[in-house]
Amino acid sequence: MTASPMIRFRQVSKRYGSLTVLDALDLDIAPGEKVALIGPSGSGKSTLLRALMLLDDIDGGVIEVDGAPLTHMPGREGLVRADERYKRRGRSGIGMVFQNFNLFPHMTALQNVAEAPASVLGLPAAQAKTRAAELLETVGLGDKLAHYPSQLSGGQQQRVAIARALAMRPRIMLFDEVTSALDPELCGEVLNVIRRLGDEHSLTMLMVTHQMGFAKEFADRICFFSEGKILEQGSPEQLFGAPQHERTRTFLRAVMEAS
């Protein structure tokens, strides 16, 4: 890594009771890199994303973003756990799209996208709405501004969710199994939006996904997770073409057979 990493996970651990979900994990992500996280359920992929989004606290290690600590803040002697205010500052450069969309059901698509810019960034209502309308246009929903989530298909809702996350102008975008809850024929429209995002912006993107085909063509790097650790990582050609570990091979075989 020549430039300093955009995201750095150092010895990150997370436990739920006696269960270790993340096991002293190390990972560096370069600015503008697109990384796909794959692996069996429970291997820690989503947990890592949620820790980066500061939705859950980690039990060990540190996460750094753009050189500054994210989960911890400078204290009197070294690093201490970040407080709410510090976390909110750190969160502001990161956006997340969820598996279940989590759109606000009582707001229209436009209101969903405009809410955070208005209430967090303090944008005047008109400006927030304009930004929201533009973003919804870029994800192909310019004609659905006044629709409520219940009136939209799953693929459309997920695209609104992407626009909503983008409205905060993040530098890092996280995608947590964003097509897993969609009917197969609706996945394409969401993946296309993500593909275009990757082409046009210099966003750093982390995706947890089961869509191996998409990961292969879109990602710069694939990380295979197993039992809280990254077992293997490499370019798509390396990982899919010549997996080193038996477990990786077993997983890839099972996934290919299923699709």
Partner: protein, 219 residues
């Protein structure tokens, strides 16, 4: 004869409506405060909320009204409330305790994903509550809330026993004089029934206005 007693009954009905509206407002306020208290991080607040809820749910409404009417004016309290105030406070406190449980359930029924999405967007906690959680919780509270409001309406009849001139009081008064118990009590029942249906209708309209979707997530 009926033409003469109708104005009296209507006067009582207006008082009943007045008490119902004021007591509901108080009950809703207390319900929200107690629900938030029960869900709060501070143990003292949780304990206080639990005390309020268990006490006012566990005791009889009429006993509470009598206590406010007969005992409160005495030492060491020395607070003399008018029958009207006794009615509004007694009903508000009693129904508010039941409402707190409804509100708590409604707040907890908002999917966790909504809160996480709001956190991910860095929406500050207060706005998160007022713009995201509360609107969705209120939609869920309307169903059981309607039944509770009708309970409140029925409860207003008890204020007649602490000398407040509501519909039940007037009905009793009229019957004592005219002995037309069948007609008067019959009409009284019909008026209460009509008021209950008004509550049902109002809440149904409110629900329709508020609800745009049961959930914004994957189906």
């Amino acid at each position: 004869m009926l033409r003469e007693i109708l104005p009296l009954l209507l006067d009582g009905t207006l008082t009943t409506i007045e008490i119902t509206l004021l007591a509901s407002a108080l009950a809703m306020l207390l319900a929200m405060l107690a629900a938030l208290g029960k869900l709060s991080r501070w143990r003292g607040l949780r304990w206080l909320a639990k005390l309020y809820i268990e006490f006012f749910r566990g005791t009889s409404l009429l006993v509470q009204l009598f206590w406010l009417y007969f005992v409160l004016p005495l030492p060491p309290f020395n607070v003399s409330l008018s029958p009207f105030s006794v009615a509004v406070f007694g009903l508000g406190l009693h129904i508010g305790a039941y409402g707190a449980e409804i509100m708590r359930g409604a707040l907890q029924s908002v999917p966790r994903g909504q809160i996480e999405a709001a956190i991910a967007l860095n929406i500050p906690p207060l706005r998160r509550f007022t713009r995201i959680v509360l609107p969705q919780a209120l939609v869920n509270a309307i169903g059981p809330g309607t039944n509770l409001l009708i309970e409140l309406l029925k409860g207003t009849s008890l204020v007649s026993l602490v000398t407040l001139a509501d519909l039940s009081f007037r009905a009793n008064q009229v019957v004592q004089v005219t002995y037309l118990s069948r007609e008067v009590f019959g009409i009284t029942l019909l008026i209460y029934f009509a008021l209950a249906q008004c509550i049902n209708l109002a809440m149904r309209l409110l629900a329709r206005r508020m609800a745009h979707a049961p959930a914004g997530g994957a189906r």
